[in-house]
């Protein structure tokens, strides 16, 4: 596993894909999860989805008949990437909180 930080877009895309979802669904889900903070723009999302497909972290699901919208779902290696990222983030938060305890907001 590469030891690099995921982008916020990638992190929320992966989190959104436990069940198959199309692009617009990912945008709505990321916004909902982040309390309205993360607004993925369609061009950014499109680029990230294609990269994740290439890396095999997500796969596209054959859409139901009549629905042209492509759906995506997270793969096992995608899940591993999310878990690795969570432990990296935990380290950041723990260190951050430990060392800024005396700082006033």
């Amino acid at each position: 596993m590469e030891n690099i930080a995921l982008t916020e877009a990638v992190f929320y895309i992966l989190l959104s894909l436990e069940k198959p979802l199309h692009g617009y669904g990912i945008m709505q889900n990321a916004e909902k999860l982040s309390g309205g903070r993360v607004k993925l723009a369609a061009g950014t999302l499109y680029g990230a989805i294609n990269t994740l497909l290439e890396k095999g972290w997500i796969s596209s699901v054959p859409g139901e008949s009549g629905d042209r919208k492509k759906e995506y779902v997270i793969t096992e290696s995608g899940k591993a990437a999310v878990l690795a990222e969570i432990s990296r983030l935990r380290e950041l938060v723990e260190n951050g909180e430990k060392l800024t305890g005396g700082w006033t907001k």
């Binding site: 982008t7 692009g23 617009y24 945008m27 369609a42 950014t44 680029g47």
Partner: protein, 179 residues
């Protein structure tokens, strides 16, 4: 009723063009078509649409571009016009702010694509200038001013590239410390 306005923007000023289109939308005129310097508008509710312009890597009818435009349309944007590799999108303003890119890297990549479009044009004009300068100097000295038309074109496009490069550099700096 359709209204046609003739106006010209340089390719490197596409953000100014977006701003102008949004001002037109605020006045109740929605872009519905574009061909060289010719903007076609239809009446709309004032401010009904927000416009964005994007340069694609391929022609709009290329399968990759078609797939991308379909994706954009699934997210509530609408393609209103295409011109060469440029696409004019719009979205209902009521659906929230319309951005195509929400991270620094994809903004940067888009500007790099614009630069890649312009740079060869500038270099080609410079090349033609140099070749013609020699040619005219030896064979037709009275027309020696003619090659300078290409030099002026090259200078103009280099100026545009410079503006784009400045924006790319600013984003690069920002990207060094955050996403």
């Amino acid at each position: 009723m359709k209204k046609v306005i003739k106006k010209m923007f340089w390719a490197w000023d596409f953000e100014k063009e977006e701003k102008w289109l949004n001002e037109m939308s605020a006045k109740g005129l929605a872009l519905v078509g574009y061909s060289l310097c010719r903007y076609v508008f239809e009446e709309c509710e004032p401010g009904e649409y927000t416009n964005k312009i994007q340069l694609l890597e391929h022609r709009p009818n290329h399968p990759e571009s078609e797939q991308y435009i379909r994706f954009m349309e699934e997210t509530g944007a609408e393609e209103v016009a295409t011109y060469m590799n440029w696409v004019y999108f719009r979205k209902k303003t009521a659906d929230g702010p319309f951005e195509i890119f929400s991270d620094i890297e994809s903004k940067m990549n888009h500007l790099i694509l614009v630069k890649k479009l312009l740079l060869p044009i500038a270099i080609l004009n410079l090349w033609i200038f140099l070749m013609n300068l020699l040619n005219f100097a030896f064979n037709y000295p009275r027309g020696i001013w003619i090659p300078f038309i290409n030099l002026a074109c090259a200078a103009l496009v280099f100026f545009g590239v410079h503006g784009i490069q400045k924006k790319i550099n600013a984003l690069k700096k920002e990207h060094a410390i955050r996403e």
